[in-house]
Amino acid sequence: MDKMILLKDDLSKFITELLKKNKVFAPIQSDDTILFDQITRPSEMNLDFCKSEIPPKNLLFHQTETLFKFTPGTKAKIESVDVDEKKVIFGIRPCDAKSIAILDHAFKGDYEDPYFLSRRDNTALVGLSCNKPEINCFCTSFDDSPASSKYVDILLTDIGDKYYVEMNNEKGKQLTEGMSNLFKHAKESDAKKKKEVEKKAVDMISRHQKTNGIVEKLDKIFENPFWKEVAFKCVGCGTCTYLCPTCHCFDIQDESTLTKGARVRVWDTCMNPEYTLQASGYNPRPARTNRVKNRIYHKYNYYPKNFDVIACVGCGRCIDLCPVNIDIIDVVTRAGEVKA
């Protein structure tokens, strides 16, 4: 697909053009946190970051979402909600964009999740390569790159005084229709520069997870005491799952008065003991060991078995933010070394 150049001075114009036809979500600074939110002007963005503390998955899979509204009682009625709205996520990192491709598997399949998938269809991803990976980044352990264009519609890479722009598909092209004055065709030297920038970023990634044969290995060590040792420190706060860009568990609850209500879904976490607690009082995953193990297995064994892809993109958020330093790079690498 087309390789273009966007001058840095023209970035604002590009965003302004996007804003004319779309809701645009981009990284913003909110107190100490970088997160994605809707912007109305280019100046509201903050592009000086490695990863947003809160991944942009919440733009497609809302933390709280009304599934439908209803009137309870004998004259019960159900009222659908509409979720079709065009939007652009600008500045999404390649790892977070991959997480959305991973989530596609969970939300597609025998039953299609209309909320996630409608938003997905109506959302264009304009990615921004990561030039400054941090200490716990390990996307390269999954053969991906901080400048991968695989999972976005358009990828921008900062190559100094301009952005190298990869138009990845029709969706990307359509998005930039009528903006040809902003984009010039890239030269050989620009492509070379992108490669250099990419290599520099890849070289900055210092930590690596050994994932070779991990699926088969996990099959053999489910009962191993190793997991008890791993989970020992966990306080069950759920941070690692709430902030993971590939976690998709949710709870469904009714919120209602006598005359009207809504069925809502909210993010949930398998790190919470109530998650599997049955009405009879029986709980199949009563201990933290069970739950920590479920998180790791879900990503490195169950998901690959069901969808042929590891459900971790190596963003490192769960490592950065775990209050007791449980480190998934270390856990998985060591699991690979445990004697079965």
Binding site: I78, Y111, E112, P114, L117, H248, F250, Y302, K305
Partner: protein, 279 residues
């Protein structure tokens, strides 16, 4: 928006039957979809489940306890345990519920044609078996010998009494009821369901055994079936995990890489031996 699997159809409670009283009562609800087309298109097989909700209270996953051969309605049998099941027990004829489904896999009623079938149930586990038994009885000529083994703590705790009376009258079905402790006037077996199974001693030849009930009962039933010579692919059961979505999305009901809501609830003992994961 796309078709929405989370949005239930409305159904009216046509009838409520009290099956069992006491501390953990069970009631059977007869539900009829308000939309005729929905009712006609709602086809299922024994073992499949439905997500039933009281708008404002929440949703629960139940085995459909009526047989697909009974058209025009579905039934669920509900044990009163927590929030939604308690509210359901307070519901009456004419009240409206939400229903979505059918969900999950089913008993292999096609593959079992020509076989002898042994049903071993206890507690609320009899709900999916009731659907299966009634289906088989309504297609009686397709199957071999039928043994129905079912038990409860006391005679008051036995569900589907009328239906069992009818079944007992039939010459082509062998019913073996039991209660756990002695009672005046009880002439049938006294003892636990797994022990009754050993007494009935159904032959494993060309047979399939299906057991649903409390986990502890299932454990001993399977042990005893193996004693009787049943192999692991002749034994079937259903599993339970806490659920929310019922369609393999919310992540909650996994055992290993399988989701009970969509890949289950019916499993052969052979399958169970090969999957790991807490349950």
């Amino acid at each position: 928006m796309k078709e929405n699997p989370y949005q239930p159809w409305l159904a009216t409670i046509e009838d409520v039957r009290e099956e069992v009283g006491g501390k953990r009562p069970i009631k059977t609800f007869k539900l009829k979809f308000q939309d005729k087309n929905v009712q006609n298109n709602f086809t299922f097989l024994p073992g499949q489940c439905a997500m039933v909700s009281l708008l404002g209270m929440g949703e629960c996953f139940f085995a459909i306890s009526s047989s697909p051969t009974k058209k025009g309605y579905i039934e669920v049998s509900v044990m009163k345990l927590g929030k939604v099941t308690t509210a359901l027990h307070e519901s009456e004829t004419g009240d409206v519920v939400g229903v979505r489904g059918p969900y999950g896999n089913y008993f292999d009623v096609e593959g079992w044609k020509g076989k002898n079938l042994v049903f071993i149930g206890g507690g609320i586990g009899q709900a999916p078996l009731r659907s299966l038994i009634n289906y088989i009885v309504d297609n009686r000529k397709n199957y071999g010998k039928l043994d129905v083994i079912y038990g409860a703590r006391s005679s008051k705790d036995l569900s589907y009494k009328q239906e069992f009376d009818e079944l007992e009258k039939r010459k082509d079905v062998n019913v073996h009821l039991s209660i756990d402790v002695e009672e005046d006037g009880w002439k049938k077996f006294v003892g636990f369901v797994p022990d009754n199974l050993l007494k009935v001693k159904p032959s494993p030849n060309n047979s399939i055994a299906i057991t649903c009930g409390p986990p502890i009962m299932i454990k001993f039933v399977i042990q005893n079936l193996e004693k009787l010579g049943y192999t692991e692919d002749q034994i079937f059961t259903t599993l339970e995990m806490r659920m929310k979505c019922g369609i393999g999305k919310c992540g909650r009901c996994n055992i290993g890489n399988l989701y009970v809501c969509k890949d289950g609830p019916v499993f052969s003992y052979k399958q169970l031996k090969n999957i790991y994961g807490e349950r």
